[in-house]
């Protein structure tokens, strides 16, 4: 059997059913084999490899399964890099396959040769260059295992042309072992006991649910755990949807643009019970002053995350679901004791949440066509199973702030890397993964234009998504920063040459609706939903809207600005306080 044949057969055996990518010079043998297997693997020819990588991410995040993308050597593989880096930051299991020049040419600067092993080293969980045709099945099996087990992440396979053309004479292993790769999934019982002691002692505990809870499929367990703890529950940006945001214990998302209630609770808490969260700087702000009053229980499957950014009192290494299960068992007999213990604490946080919501609602009514309004109305229209992907910027944070999710894997966003252009291809990937679910791409005019060529892919493969472009004619988030911290010196943020996005959609054979008034928006959304065709909504939102509350960069959580209830202060107020 030819190398490319065994490669494709192994992918099929590994239950790969969709593949995003672009062919080219040295990857032709692989595509030649794929030609005979299109009934088993749905191949989606994207218009740029970055789109392929983000689509693989969208697929992986929607399903919790490895997403696969492919590009040829050199520029093809290089174009995958942004998506690979994004997947690395957000622990997304993808398998990225890059063609490579034949082994005898490697190192000679051959046509379209790039050292992809060198380039992908720092942005992959692992990478392989296959140098023997007989090692193909084993390598793919290892790559798939590494991508999904433990803390997931991207794995890159470099596939030289001669290896694809070589004859496979080996045996296909039934399973693979990777010595030294044994993620710790069962927690240390002594640490669990310590955690229970802290939980029982705590007066103002909070539960922080990160992306790890979603990855571990621990949604139901977390729900049960939260109800036993009966304390305020918040999520991170990546953990959004890991706990229903309509639940009486939910106080929303914490961090840079999170809910005032959540950040207030962190500041005043005496115990953070943190699961599957890496305490990124967007969550903590200045780490020296982060949650000063609180002890920290940190549960994560990756030991390297524990103690990396913030000090930890009880480190627990293990799989989120398993750890939660064991904590539930240990706490079961205390449940009645805990039931009403924190009700006053919960009520205080919930009141802040409700007060802020009421004031925000007033703004939404009062103001014109804003991103808040766009997100809030979308939130009202969403079914629990609908998916929303996002670009990166203001619209993303408005989405985080104003759209409620009740299920995991429905909010698909680029968190750690903050990759503009993520939204449209990720939506495409999510729709391929779950064809019966409505998929919205909440986007900005800046982000959208970074990968908008995928509209062609969407047309070609009849992948229906609903891109909602919050079009403010500028790079809104940077504009906001410049307004606040650079005296409105709007350097490099104006988008005065934007196309008519509705017409752009039409040029691709899709539908487009331009929304210029508040009154038109919901109707446009409904039309887009009803249509079988992708309908791009070009929503002309206010240019100078800011996303608040906001944690200024490298500041303490107490210095959050633009709040309505607790953090009712401006950046100038913060500077004045600091000067004192």
């Amino acid at each position: 059997m030819r190398g490319s044949e065994i490669f494709v057969q192994t992918l099929i055996k590994q239950k790969v059913d969709s593949l995003f990518g672009i062919t080219g010079g040295v990857i032709i043998p692989f595509f030649d084999t794929l030609y005979d297997n299109m009934d088993k693997i749905r191949y989606i020819l994207t218009r740029h490899e970055q789109g392929a990588a983000h689509a693989a991410e969208g697929y992986a995040k929607a399903l919790g399964k490895v997403g696969v993308c492919v590009g040829t050597s050199g520029p093809g593989a290089c174009n995958l890099v942004t998506g690979i880096a994004d997947a690395y930051m957000d622990s997304v299991p993808i398998l990225a396959i890059g063609g490579q020049v034949s082994t005898n040419l490697i190192g000679n600067d051959a046509f379209q040769e790039t050292d992809m092993m060198g380039i992908t080293n720092p942005i992959t969980k692992h990478n392989y260059q296959i140098r023997e045709t007989n090692k193909i099945p084993e390598t793919i099996m290892k790559a798939m295992k590494i991508a999904i087990e433990g803390r997931p992440g991207p794995v890159y396979i470099d596939l030289p042309k001669d290896i694809q053309l070589g004859e496979f004479t080996g045996i296909i292993p039934t399973k693979v072992e990777i010595p030294g790769f044994n993620p710790t999934i069962y927690p240390n019982p002594r640490q669990l006991q310590k955690a229970v002691e802290l939980i029982l002692k705590a007066e103002n505990p909070v539960l922080i649910s990160g992306g790890g809870v979603i990855i571990s499929n621990a949604y139901k367990k977390l729900f049960k755990f939260a109800e036993i703890l009966a304390c305020p529950v918040m999520t991170t940006t990546m953990g959004k949807g890991g706990f229903p945001e309509t639940h009486p214990l939910s106080i929303g998302v914490m961090g840079m643009h999170g809910q005032e209630a959540a950040n207030w609770a962190v500041i005043n808490s005496d115990l953070l019970i943190t699961i599957g969260c890496r305490f990124s700087d967007r969550v903590t702000g200045d780490t020296k002053t982060f949650a000063e009053k609180a002890k920290v229980i940190h549960i994560d499957i990756d030991p390297a995350e524990i103690g990396k950014n913030v000090g930890v009192d009880v480190p627990i290494v293990g799989d989120a679901g398993i750890v939660i299960d064991q904590l539930i068992t240990l706490l079961a007999k205390e449940a009645t004791k805990l039931k009403n213990k924190h009700s006053a604490w919960v009520a205080r946080a919930k009141k802040i949440l409700a007060d802020a919501h009421a004031l925000e609602e007033r703004d939404i009514q009062k103001e014109g066509l804003t991103q808040k309004f766009v997100c809030k109305e979308l939130s009202k229209l969403l079914s629990p199973d609908d998916i929303v992907t996002t670009g990166v910027g203001q619209h993303q944070m408005f989405g985080e702030h104003f759209i409620d999710f009740t299920k995991p894997r429905k909010w698909i966003t680029s968190g750690g890397a903050g990759t503009m252009g993520f939204g449209l291809p990720a939506a495409m990937g999510a729709k391929v993964a779950l064809p019966d679910v409505e998929v919205y791409d909440l986007d900005g005019d800046g982000s959208f234009q970074m990968t908008s060529q995928e509209l062609a892919t969407i047309k070609e493969h009849k992948i229906k998504v609903i891109p909602i472009i919050c079009n403010n004619g500028c790079l809104g988030m940077v504009r906001q920063w410049l307004e606040l911290f650079s005296k409105k010196r709007y350097s490099g943020v104006q988008y005065s040459g934007n196309p008519d996005f509705g017409k752009l959609a039409e040029a691709y054979g899709l539908k487009g609706i331009t929304v210029t008034r508040k009154s038109e928006y919901v109707d446009a959304l409904k039309q887009a939903k009803k249509s079988d065709e992708t309908t791009v909504l070009d929503v002309k939102v206010a240019a100078e809207e800011n996303i608040y509350p906001m944690l200024p960069p490298a500041s303490s959580l107490k210095e959050i600005i633009g709040g309505k209830v607790i953090f009712n202060q401006t950046w100038d107020d913060v500077l004045k306080k600091r000067a004192k």
């Binding site: 092993m117 060198g118 080293n121 720092p122 969980k125 692992h126 260059q129 140098r131 590494i146 990777i178 010595p179 030294g180 790769f181 990756d302 030991p303 390297a304 103690g307 990396k308």
Partner: protein, 166 residues
């Protein structure tokens, strides 16, 4: 503070790039790094000297452990490990007196002379890095032409010599 860690790795192409790349990417300072084969085919041992506090050491160990090619990471504390480095020093023999002095020093330090010509001598210093350092200092007065140090290698003493981590 210097810490020595030993890392067992799969002897795959590019493994050194992965390890050293991770160190530089995360801002860890490597003082020395050595690599060699073990008795097990396909497995190599890397010994790294890192500079940093306890927290840095903990992060280094965890981050190294996270690399898929890593099989085992062990810290080798100074007090319970045998630590050695090899250094070749070429010194100029500018006069008869210099030559006599150098040969005397070599004898006192029990250092092998591995090459001797009319104009220079090459000595092989094996020992703890501090011994190597002090001998180099001593030789400076004679005019060191070139030195070549291997960097540190180390092994845990006895059965409980090495603290297994993770």
């Amino acid at each position: 503070m210097k810490h020595i860690i030993s890392i067992l790795v799969h002897d795959e192409p590019g493994v050194m790039a992965k390890i050293s790349g991770m160190f530089s990417r995360r801002g860890f300072n490597i003082d020395t790094i050595t690599v060699g084969k073990t008795t097990q085919p396909g497995i190599s041992k890397i010994v790294v000297t890192v500079i940093g506090d306890e927290k840095t050491l903990e992060q280094v160990e965890k981050q190294v452990n996270k690399l898929i090619d890593t099989i085992k990471v062990t810290e080798l504390p100074e007090r319970s490990s045998i630590i050695r480095e090899l250094c070749l020093i070429q010194v100029a023999l500018s006069s008869k007196k210099a030559k006599d002095d150098i040969l005397n020093y070599a004898q006192v330090y029990k250092i092998k002379i591995v090459d001797l010509t009319l104009k220079s001598a090459i000595m092989e210093v094996v020992g703890e890095p501090s011994k190597v350092d002090s001998f180099i200092d001593l030789m400076k007065q004679f005019g060191i032409k070139e030195i070549s140090r291997t960097g540190v290698t180390a092994i845990g003493r006895g059965e409980n010599g090495s603290k297994k981590t993770n």
